[in-house]
Amino acid sequence: MYKIIITFALLVFSSIATAQSDYNLPLGVTDISQKVYNLHMTIFYVCIAIGLVVFGLMFFAMIKHRKSKGVKAAQFHESTLIEIIWTVIPFFILIALAVPATQTLIEMEDNSNADITIKITGSQWKWHYEYFDHDFGFYSLLSTSPEQIANTKEKGVNYLLEVDKPLVLPINKKVRFLVTADDVIHSWWVPAFAVKQDANPGFINEAWTRINEPGVYRGQCAELCGKDHGFMPIVVEVLPEKEYQQWLDSQLSSVLLAKEKEQQDLNSGMTMEEAMTLGEQVYLSLCAACHMPSGEGIPGAFPALKNSKIALGDVKKHIDIVVNGVEKSAMQAYGQQLSLKKLAAVITYERNAWGNNTGDLVQANDVQQPANK
């Protein structure tokens, strides 16, 4: 019975593992990831081999040396020689494994001579990418709809592995990542690159990759970071060099456009209706994770905004909290993350939704002062 189970398990394991499959480590698209894959397979086979020998002997004993077959137990219970042998052999196997592992590791930790530097900042629960050499960056958030998560809509192919704005990288360039976090520890992981680096608040960790093939690669946050740890995916779109350059240029110019737009928003006000619609949109995508779509928060963890003193009280205070956050708490400073118009809208929304009928309409202009302080 044992034998059947184990052979079966081993068979399944090895047949699945030999082929590149969905159930094994991905081979990946970088030289490093392929080295890691090969190392993984080597060690896997070494373990299988040792397992076969050890369990094989054990099953042999279980079959041949059974009391029910009338065998009498032997008396030996020591043998220095054999004990030395089976101490030394594993030791050498380990050395044989450690050598390639060390080489690969040294290579992985060599962050020098990068062509492009990207600063990656994790925060609850989104990633911020900054193109270090260009002073340009953006947030990347889960784009799977709440309905799909709540099972009321059919799930798409990339369920939970899709974002509104992926990180875009070129092939064949050494890309250096500077990984850090704003609040708790996150971990930036893309299996196809064999890069997993913890994002520690207050420290910068470095990692690098050089991607061989264009494509879209997906990963997930790999360190428990609170409630929505399962909902902060990573998507990297890798483009041929030329296309990458085009993309970058278009992004840089749209940054300029956005700045202009901001100026316009300052002068032209929103109607209540506009503000509420935009506000709701922003609220649901950014704030609802903690304060809940109903505005009721999670008592003991995240305060309710419905009927809250802040949302019903002084507008200035409300603006201040949203723009500058609350130090030493999960409430981030949204001043850097949202445009003035969106800030105004979401504050308006919070002051008028869920029965918070203050009637206040906040305009981009009102938000401007604290945002720039």
Binding site: H77, N151, L160, K196, A222, L224
Partner: protein, 535 residues
């Protein structure tokens, strides 16, 4: 085996000079006030079984939520609490107390001592546990919920960003620690000081040896955990910044402190298993344990090495290269002494006269499945590979193989092995066999596919997952439910055995050795008031 003849109630080395004591006290007070190592052992074992079910029920919530993609029955915050408290309860409430229970029952019997060295302290160690766990479990029902930061409670998720109830978590861990330390001191002193005359250290039964070493690990490791939670407390409530860069601290410092405790902790949960297996394998192979002294040295080297490998849990935290290399080498080195143990067990079986009663079945399953868990541990120990495996279900698979099919299976093995001695009755062999086979099959359906999930990229501690993980998760959940239900059988067997059954002989297993088998079954309330003679 089990030739179930009538008990030939011959008096062995027990004596009866203290008649006033041999009457067992009755009622609830017996258990509350007891100083008897057997009673306390029973209390520990009962508590641990209860906690296994509580922690198991939480695992069932986890598995039910993960049965399908999409959020099903709990919200993410509660899911995190389930994961966290499941881990905490299983580690501190199920496995450790079970081992302490076995030590309480068996160590004095095996070394021929009248009781533990400090019987009152022993009772205190036990009764702290229900207090600690009621606080921990109660915190789940507080506003904001209970601990939701993983059983490893990494800062600053467990400080600045933690729920209000964290203070209760911290103090509960403190008193659990007190309980463990006092228990460990008691066991060490009992072993050092109460052995029967003539029992030198190198004549002690393996189970006693492994517990002796485990107790050292406890004494050295647990205070470090106490310090870690203390710093969490001050960081959260008293504005210190041990784990915050803004004040000159470092979140990774927490991980160093935690794992300096945490890694020895995982060996605390496996060394006594090694002892149990080293007791059972020779008994049913009817052959002496192969390589007794190398077993002792191997256990000691595992214990020593366990203090210099902690950062293998932290390869992705951005340590300098030299540190990563050091911890990789020291980690994989542990395979050598552990291998010695596995090989010695196989050599013990080699040319023995093996029979397959339930304790032996569990022991054999232990050897195979623990080794599989050890292999995946070895893979995790290779730093460049850990970059891929870390914080995925591959890790979850690894540690459930060493913990469930390792620690838990060995506890089951031990329980079946000694039940006749404790209760005086044989357990129901048919039901027990059923329990074994169902457990064996379902546990592999439960944990084996987790390797694939991890390799394919499923992170751990997530309440919902991408569609490509759906099939395996469903299988895993089904295995989980089956394994959970199978454990109800264990309870049935134990209850039946306590209530009655075929009378157990003094020595129901013909290959077993040791003082405990020279005592009648069930063991009298007081034993070895006069120490037995070592042959």
């Amino acid at each position: 085996m089990s030739t179930l003849v009538k008990n030939n109630n011959k008096k062995a080395d027990i004596d009866d000079f203290d008649h006033a004591h041999d009457e067992k006290p009755r009622g609830i007070m017996r258990w509350l006030l007891t100083t008897n190592h057997k009673d306390i052992g029973t209390l520990y074992l009962g508590f641990s079984l209860l906690m296994f079910f509580v922690g198991g029920a939480m695992a069932m919530v986890i598995r039910a939520e993960l049965f399908q993609p999409g959020m099903q029955i709990v919200d993410p915050n509660f899911f995190n609490q389930m994961t966290t408290v499941h881990g905490l309860i299983m580690v501190f409430g199920a496995v450790m107390p079970a081992f302490v229970g076995l030590a309480n029952w068996m160590v004095p019997l095996m070394i021929g001592a009248p009781d533990m060295a400090l019987p009152r302290l022993n009772n205190w160690s036990f009764w702290i546990l229900p207090a600690a766990f009621s606080v921990l479990i109660a915190s789940l029902f507080m506003p904001g919920g209970g601990p939701n930061f993983g059983w490893t409670f990494y800062a600053p998720l467990s400080t600045t960003y933690a729920p209000d109830s964290t203070a209760l978590f911290v103090f509960a861990v403190h008193i659990m620690g007190i309980s463990s330390i006092l228990g460990a001191i008691n066991i060490i002193v009992t072993i050092m000081n109460l052995r029967a005359p003539g029992m030198s250290y190198m004549k002690m039964p393996m189970f006693v040896w492994t517990w002796f070493i485990t107790a050292f690990l406890l004494i050295v490791a647990i205070p470090v955990l106490a310090a870690a939670v203390t710093m969490i407390l001050t960081d959260k409530y008293f504005a210190t910044s041990f784990f915050s860069a803004a004040g000159g601290g470092d979140p990774v410092l927490f991980q160093h402190i935690f794992w300096f405790f945490g890694h020895p902790e995982v060996y605390i949960m496996i060394l006594p298993s090694f002892g149990i297996i080293s007791t059972i394998i020779p008994a049913f192979s009817r052959k002496k344990l192969f390589g007794y002294s190398s077993m002792v040295y191997a256990t000691a080297s595992i214990a020593l090495l366990s203090f210099v490998v902690w950062a293998h849990h932290m390869f992705t935290t951005g340590m300098p290269l030299a540190a990563e290399l050091f911890f990789m080498y020291s980690t994989i080195l542990i395979a050598v002494p552990t291998g010695v143990k596995v090989f010695n067990w196989v050599a013990t079986m080699w040319r023995g006269a093996i029979s397959f009663e339930v304790p032996m079945l569990f022991a054999i399953a232990f050897i195979i499945l623990f080794t599989i868990g050890g292999f995946s541990g070895l893979m995790l120990g290779i730093t460049p590979l850990d970059f891929q495996y870390h914080d995925t279900y591959f890790v979850v698979a690894h540690f459930h193989y060493v913990l469930v099919t390792g620690a838990i299976f060995s506890i089951m093995a031990g329980a079946y092995f000694w039940l006749p001695k404790w209760t005086g009755y044989m357990y129901d062999e048919r039901l027990a066999k059923l329990h074994f086979w169902l457990s064996l099959i379902s546990v592999n359906i439960l944990f084996f596919p987790m390797h694939f999930l991890g390799l394919a990229g499923m992170p751990r501690r997530i309440p919902d997952y991408a569609l490509q993980f759906a099939d395996f998760n469903q299988l895993v959940s089904l295995g989980g439910f089956a394994f959970g239900i199978s454990q109800l059988l264990f309870v049935v067997v134990v209850v039946k055995c306590v209530r009655g059954g075929a009378k157990a002989q003094e020595k129901p297993w013909d290959g077993a050795e040791g003082f405990e088998w020279e005592l009648p079954s069930p063991v009298p309330y007081h034993t070895f008031s006069t120490p037995p003679k070592v042959k």
